[in-house]
């Protein structure tokens, strides 16, 4: 039977394909999943590819303009392989590697961490409480690149009324901050992103209001803690200065505006206030977290790590503070990972492997059945697989190792955490080789940022008195495992403190204490910003960190 060579760019994979097969199917054999709502019938026009070399007759469709047709654009499902081809697959034609469930999830387990962060605070909100409302509420909003968390706070009693999280719907416009900014630079892009942020927030609020049986009018103030880009997009401000310009190009202080103007569906006159930021990539989410961990009150040197989509690191004490950010990607929040999910009920947050032949022992938020795996579970899994020699130092799965839980899914080697039906799991839960590479890059970015910052102030890691980890990784993280993969510095375990969602606690503090709000302004003033993107040593540290636990 006649066959041809078909190469797919930009991946560069190549194979022999039987004559007459569709380009769509040829792509599938490499695990390249093209979009196609119509299922390959040639009607939806989503699977557009570009033929860079080889003969391939046009495939007329409304989604391909004559100009594009002339340049080689074809529908993959209609294009037949009748020649050696080089096919370029545009990103927009690819199915996202993980379909993201945007639904809001009510969270209720975090209260001990919240209590600790808010200890000693007597409610004194930054506005007068109107006497007419029996239970005046404030909204604390953690506006993350990947995840948005909202919390209703009783402004009199100080307690949390309810809390929910959802994926930021802007994810459909790019998973990292730079992609969002470039998206915003397109015509209409900024408004579109702003709309997606508001949709995410307002749906969250609706869910919470229903859950707590309160109305929009009960919410009389909102505090937003978000990174500089997210706040720009939320306010409809052009974010291009953030990636292009110097330190001062981005706005880091924002006046309070009424909710009506902000587009947040609470009391229309309620002030929406923002945690102040430091620079382009160290925003109000970070200063809020620093406030929550009280670095600014301590003599001992504290290392604060917010492991979000951008990893943000602040090092310092009451005398000095230095902050930086690194691009980690959304992996720890479950995006772009085969079985990844947000730290919500059903998420595997703990993994223990004692016997390679047996199923790993798991901790699942809210109990089994597991639905997916969240950040802390991924860290555990990496550490355990590395210990058992399943994962090598480069983060590659050792194909040669004898482990019954190694399998193949969609053409990729995977480690099966749960197979469908095992402990009532509704589907296979696994991480594949690409996932581990992404996690390796995530941990490397954080590790490299920490090392660069320590080098910059010429401190030895051992001089760090306390390491505070914040983020949405899970209920708890195993610092020992995070050290084992090299993400955290190798220090005695008692020095580590996982505070959970520091940004949210910081927003809470601003809601509940005028005084802490003032302290937060001072923190934003005092943090010295270290720009890693132009730092000569960072890339080198990053390369050294792309190794388990580290090249040293």
């Amino acid at each position: 039977m006649k066959s041809f060579r078909v190469k797919f760019l930009p991946l560069g994979v190549e194979s022999r394909v039987a004559a007459g097969a569709s380009v769509y199917d040829a792509a599938l054999t490499h695990g390249i999943q093209l979009r196609g709502e119509c299922g390959g019938l040639g009607s939806c026009g989503q699977c557009v590819v570009k033929i860079d070399a080889g003969a391939c007759p046009p495939t007329p469709h409304a989604s391909i303009t004559p100009d594009r047709e002339r340049r080689g654009y074809r529908l993959a499902c209609a294009a037949r392989v009748e020649d050696d081809l080089v096919v370029f697959v545009p990103e927009e034609s690819l199915l996202p590697s993980a379909s993201v469930d945007y639904a809001a999830v009510v969270l209720s387990e975090d209260d001990r961490k919240r209590d600790r962060a808010l200890a000693g605070v007597e409610p004194s909100p930054p506005l007068n409480l109107p006497p007419g409302i029996a239970r005046p509420l404030g909204l604390a909003l953690d506006l993350g690149t990947t995840t948005v968390v909202a919390e209703f706070v009783n402004l009199r009693a100080g307690n949390c009324v309810s809390r929910a999280a959802a994926y930021n719907r802007q994810l459909s416009c790019g998973t990292d901050i730079i992609s969002r900014i470039t998206y915003a630079e397109r015509p209409g892009g900024l408004e579109w992103l702003r709309g997606l942020a508001l949709e995410t927030i307002n749906d969250l609020l609706a869910r919470l209001m229903e859950h707590s049986r309160v109305g929009p009018g009960d919410l009389i103030i909102a505090i937003v803690a978000g990174n500089t880009t997210m706040v720009h997009l939320f306010l409809g401000m052009d974010p291009s200065g953030i990636r292009l310009g110097s330190f001062t190009a981005a706005h880091t202080r924002y006046p309070a505006i009424p909710a009506r103007e902000a587009g947040v569906k609470i009391d229309p006159l309620a002030p929406v206030m923002f945690a102040p930021g430091v620079g382009s990539y160290v925003g109000g989410d970070v200063t809020a977290g620093v406030l929550a961990c009280r670095m600014h009150e301590c003599d001992e040197v504290t290392l604060f790590i917010d492991a979000g989509t951008n990893g943000e690191i602040v090092l310092g004490n009451r005398e000095w503070m230095m902050g930086c950010a690194c691009s980690t990607g959304p992996a720890f929040e479950g995006v772009g990972i085969a079985s990844g999910m947000i730290a919500a009920p059903g998420a595997i947050e703990e993994v223990h492997i004692r016997d390679l032949d047996a199923a790993p022992r798991l901790g699942v938020i809210g109990g089994a059945p597991a639905r997916g795996i969240c950040g802390s579970g991924m860290i555990d899994l990496m550490a355990e697989l590395f210990r058992h020699g399943i994962l090598d130092r480069n983060g590659a799965l050792n194909a040669g190792s004898r482990c019954p839980r190694l399998a193949e899914r969609d053409g990729h080697p995977v480690y099966l955490v749960r197979t469908r039906g095992e402990d009532c799991a509704a589907r296979d839960i696994y991480l594949n080789d690409v996932d581990f590479k992404k996690l390796l890059r995530t941990k490397a970015a954080i590790q490299a940022a920490i090392r660069t910052m320590l080098k910059n102030v010429e401190l030895d890691a051992r001089e760090i008195g306390r390491v505070v980890i914040a983020g949405r990784l899970g209920e708890a993280i195993d610092a020992g495992n995070a050290i084992a993969i090299g993400m955290l510095p190798d220090l005695p375990l008692e020095r580590f403190d996982y505070i959970g969602n520091g940004s949210l606690w910081g927003a809470n503090l601003m809601l509940l204490s005028k005084e802490r709000g003032v302290a937060l302004e001072a923190i934003a003033d005092r943090i010295t910003y270290l720009d890693l993107s132009t730092h000569p040593g960072y890339m080198e540290e990053y390369v050294a960190s792309l190794f388990i636990p580290h090249t040293d």
């Binding site: 930009p10 050696d84 370029f88 545009p90 010429e458 010295t528």
Partner: protein, 450 residues
Amino acid sequence: MKLTGLQIFKLLPNKNCKECGFQTCLAFAMKLVAKQVRLDACPYVSDEAKAVLGAASAPPIRLVGIGTGEREVKVGEELVLFRHEKAFFHKTAIAVQVDDRLSGDALGARVREAADFSVERAGERLCIDLIAVKELSGEPERFVAAVARVREMCPLPLILISRNPACMRAGLKAAGGTRPLLWGADRDNADELAALAKEAGAPLVAAPGGSIDDLAQFAAELAGRGVDDIILAPSPAGAADRLAAFTLLRRRALSRAAPGTGYPTILSVPGGGYEGAAAAVGGICKYASIVVLETPSPWHYLPLLTLRQGIYTDPQKPLQVNPGVYRIGEAKPESPLLVTTNFSLTYYMVSSEIEASEIPSWLLVVDAEGQSVLTAWAAGKFNPEVIAKAVVAQGLDTRVPHTRLIIPGYVAMMSGDLEDKLPGWNIMVGPQESADIPVYLKEVWTRLGT
């Protein structure tokens, strides 16, 4: 002693007044460590801090100037043993030697070749820095004639080489007020040459022979006689000895603890063939501040100056190439056109892979401030606008009628936007890694069949 940023920070007032131009006192302290600002930018610094910080910042090796005006050569003020620790700062000055026994024609030719040599490379003009005139005749008049002839012919600063005080006095006079470097102070002529140097305000080479300990002691004595600008000439017995002498001098100078070593160094190598050039390579790599080529040929210059350029680039700073269109091989209008950034390593990797492919091509190099493709993309310096502008500015629509542009695989996402910005152009996505370029060109380009 070297202070850390935090130690310096503790000496600062911690007012965060921003009057120095930085956001915080810590940021200012970091800049002080990097020697990118001066302490007096802080209006509130205490006297104690001034005393402590001032002492830590004096250079361990003296900066010495030779000549005057535009072509003045400065050597010294180095801070490290290895360039990766920070950088080497004042390039090894390359001198070409003539002597007063050469015929007028031979002298003229050598000076002309040296002075005229000028090649632009990676944004720098490569030139010979100095002419050394050596006295071999023992006759002041002949030395004067040679010096005068060289001065007539070219504006380069001079090195006068003679151990004969009478000749040196005459030569110095012939050099006018041009501050030549006087080479030849030893134990016999030290008094006269030191006096000459002082009088003319000229730098003096200490060349007493013997060990580097003798050399350092002699240099300290010259300094004691009031000569400020000294250059050290070790007299090694062979290549290994030479490396040892220059290495130990640099090491001792940086220690700030060995008197008489905190000066630049000079090395003279025979020319004519390959061996002297090999010695010069050693000198450029390992710590010679000035290398004198005794009898060079023009083909010596490009390799040695290229080496010097490389060794003295800032290792932290990416080396850049000039933006523009580069023709690789015998590219014709129908040859492929690729685009990349002006980070030199990126350029060299891409261009060498194109060369390796043996498919002549055009390479459009876009000014991305010396960043690599992905970094520049993230910072918005390698985007559809920049590329489209470069394509138009270079008139590529007429130079490459096929209107196909190959972009790096790492920026595949901009292909659509770029096609919008360049109507009529067909944007092709090349491989992510430069190593795959030959295969790409062979498979994709040649199969286009156009």
